[in-house]
Amino acid sequence: MSEFYAVILADSYDNQFNHLTNNIPKSLFPFVDDLIIEHQINWLSKNEIDQIIVLYRNEKIAEYFNNRRRPGRKTQKIQLINILDSKSSGDALRELYSHGIIQQDFLLLFGDVITNISLKEVINKYHDQRKEDKMNILLMVVHQGIQQYDEERYLYVLESDDKLFQLTDLQQKQIIINKKHITLTKGMPCKYVIRSNLIESGIYICNRDVLKSFQEYFMFAEIKEDFIKYMTTTSDIQEEKIHLYISPKIQVSQRIFHAQSYHNACLKYLSRFFFPYCPQQQYYVDFFKYFAGRVDQKSKISDQCFIGQNTDVKQKVTITKSIIGKNCKLGIGCEIINSILWDNIEVDDNIIIKDSIIASGCKIKNSIQSQIVTIENQKNVKQLLSFQKYDDNAFQSENSDQESDSHELHQKKPKENDDQGLKEDMIDIVANCKTVSQVKEAITNVDTIKVNSNIAFENIVIAFMAAFLDTLQPDVDSLKNAYALWEEFIIRFVSETEVVCYIKSIETFCRQNQQYHLNQFLQLSYKHQILSEQVIINYQNQMATLEDDQFAKDFVQSSQQFKEYLENIILEQEQQENQEGDGEYEYEYVYE
């Protein structure tokens, strides 16, 4: 076993995931809780295969392995071989042959296979067949199941002892079986079996002769289309034989051809089809839901979902059959359906993500317009408005600048609209309220407006004061009545931080209308406990410093008496505190 090498073809030569594979190779895609290549290395080490060779085209794999610090078997050794010039898997194998590392048998594994097939029986069968005949060079591992995807649809024609006679693509219009060697005579058991319930798993156990034949026949580009087809069609000339290992029904594998099979493989992994390779038990919540992050209680998460580590899922989020990676943030009210989100993604409130793959580092924001979904060919790639480019792994980064500008423009307009609307609402409310109970209703109305439109307290106070002051008449009684009526409302919305704009609005009003006296307003506010003594005194001192202002001087003169009155009260309060101060203790709480 020590001589047995495992060769991982860590790159795909097809265009299925084109947008994503321009940045990262398929082997470094995150698959639920770990990268695909880590799952494969874990599977190989559980099957006691220590010598691993990774054939890579993208520099990122070399970087990843240089920085990789993972616990593993002590005898594990991972070699990297660069196949930059190769355009097909055939070229990769030729490069491997030229390095001359492999002496005997090796296991060939495609970079997008997730499986739980136990290799012990496979290797035993391979060695048995090698002993029988030196011409058995390839053992192809297949598993039983329903052929779901077009890439899996093949017809397998087998002879006795699972020797592969012919492999035909079911997508062709005509299927021709090599009839030369099939002779059926009545009464004799038929030697050939045609099966369409086998799915190739992407695992091949090969001899060094396979590499030699790739070297000889330079036009071989793919393993299945070229090599196996050639060997089976010319089996009367050639002597090399290819066998199949059909795994028992419990052992399955899944290749990731395109987005649909990616999603399918993730769900199968969550549903424990690849037992004993499953997500960690400590994250298991319910029926096939795994929460490694924080999920709010008010959100609904369906079966077969995975929430990654450090991910924050806020309230009222609905997640259906989706996989969410690490460090993500989902805002309030999102809906995520049948999607795969990678790491470090921020999603704002009220966004629907459906049937998509979102790469790492995206920020998805809300906009007033409805969201645009584009479906390109067979990929469901969602273009969302305004996301920012991060260091790596964001796709469609060229469009992001334009779209972020347009987003900001949109944002400015509604603010003004909101302000205008608020003023009108406030005027309506103030005009309609005549009794205290109606004022209470008004309080709840304004509360809802505030929450729905997310308006700050300041704006409410300003709008209200404008409306309120309009209703007043210049005698003292109306002032008193008005204050008595609106006391609760004003107390509710004017707190310490809004006092300034409250007084400002009264001041501007008094400056404009000379009939009203600021002093009276302040006295009434103090009486109804809207303003405290200190605040009024501060304001009066501030007004005293304004020298050029006639209005201010008038105000200071008229409010002199009031000011003294307030200062007396403050002095009394301080004396009271000093008297009581001796008897009070300060308790320090000691937390044990």
Binding site: N116, Q144, I146, P248, K249, I250, V252, N264, L267, K268, S271, R272, F273, F274, F275, F287, Q304
Partner: protein, 338 residues
């Protein structure tokens, strides 16, 4: 699809004891020089941790617990055991004579014998032998109680493959005539194999599918079940599907008798179906599962002690209310954390 023959849990227990013996005799064990009894015991605990095949593996730690208990007993009282049967009395006598002769042999042959090796020879190896004997002979001991529990022409119900039950029935056949009904589980093929194995010995066997359980339970006199683990409160961890049979049996007032060797006694407590359990692949239950139509497979069924009438072990017969006594004899409380 290849049918798997059920392996009795005995095999893994016995193999682990044999590896311990090989380690000690081959001097591969990392024991400090001049070891005391405590050093041996800690070494045995570490070995059981290493050999354990997962969090749901009870049988290897059980047998090591038993070994440590035997070692303690041997070293403290210098060899004499609480005696249960007259037959056993003579066995013990034979062991002590053998041991004394071994001890005399060693002192004669190698004069400069270190104390540690003496401990090993006197205590550890004989206790290993004793535990191995208990494991191998457990079936015979169970079968001695066979004849007392059955009348002639009774109908017995069994479920799936169990080697203990198989041996029990084969020995009971010599004295009684009875009829056996084998219930087949929906998911595995071992019921068929059990029926053929019984049929080879000319027993009257009927094989029925699981859905027939309600109908035939009315005509059954007793139920015999094999078990995977016996817990300290009397609950059982059994093959998936036995919980349904036990509930049915209680409904029809059919006594449920559980047969097991004492190496399946596990000093742990469970409260519901999920405490000692693991979800396995859905393909094990239904080979045609897809993601949308899935089955859920579990490893064990937990059966609470209220459904059981009697436990027959090779150390005696117990009711669920009194089986805790066996734990205190069989194991030591200090070793329950293995």
């Amino acid at each position: 699809m290849s049918t798997l023959k059920a392996q009795p849990r005995l095999y893994s227990s016995r193999e682990s004891i044999l590896t311990l013996k090989a380690h000690l005799s081959g001097k591969q064990a990392k024991i400090p020089k001049n070891p005391t009894m405590e050093d041996y015991i800690t070494y045995i605990k570490k070995l059981s941790n290493r050999l354990k095949q997962g969090p749901l593996d009870f049988w290897i730690p059980n047998v090591f617990r038993r070994l440590i208990q035997v070692i303690r007993l041997m070293s403290s009282e210098d060899g004499f055991f609480p005696i249960k049967d007259k037959e056993k009395n003579f066995k013990e006598l034979g062991l002590t004579i053998l041991r004394k002769s071994i001890r005399s042999k060693t002192t004669v042959e190698t004069g400069s014998e270190t104390g540690s090796n003496a401990i090993q020879q006197d205590v550890i190896l004989p206790s290993i032998e004793q535990v191995l004997e208990e494991l191998e002979a457990h079936s015979d001991d169970i079968n001695t109680f066979a004849s007392t529990h059955f009348f002639t022409n009774e109908v017995l119900l069994v479920y799936e493959y169990s080697t203990t039950v198989l041996n029990f029935l084969l020995s009971a056949k010599k004295t009684r005539n009875f009829e056996i009904i084998v219930l087949e589980s929906e998911t595995e093929n071992l019921g068929k194999q059990f029926a053929t194995d019984l049929g080879k010995h000319n027993l009257n066997v009927t094989l029925t599918p699981f859905t027939n359980a309600y109908a035939i339970m009315q005509r059954v006199n007793k139920t015999l079940l094999g078990v995977d683990a016996i817990l300290k409160n009397g609950g059982l961890l059994m093959h998936p599907g036995t919980y349904a049979i036990c509930v049915l049996a209680k409904q029809f007032a059919v006594p449920v008798i559980v047969l097991s060797g004492a190496h399946k006694l596990t000093p742990k407590y469970a409260f519901d179906q999920t405490t000692f359990n693991q979800l396995v692949s859905p393909l094990k239950i239904n080979p045609n599962s897809t993601i949308d139509q899935m089955s859920i497979g579990i490893t064990f069924d937990y059966v609470p002690p209220e459904y059981i009438s009697l436990y027959i072990t090779n150390q005696g017969q117990y009711t669920p209310q009194s089986i805790y006594q066996l734990f205190s004899d069989f194991y030591n409380v200090k070793d329950e954390d293995i």
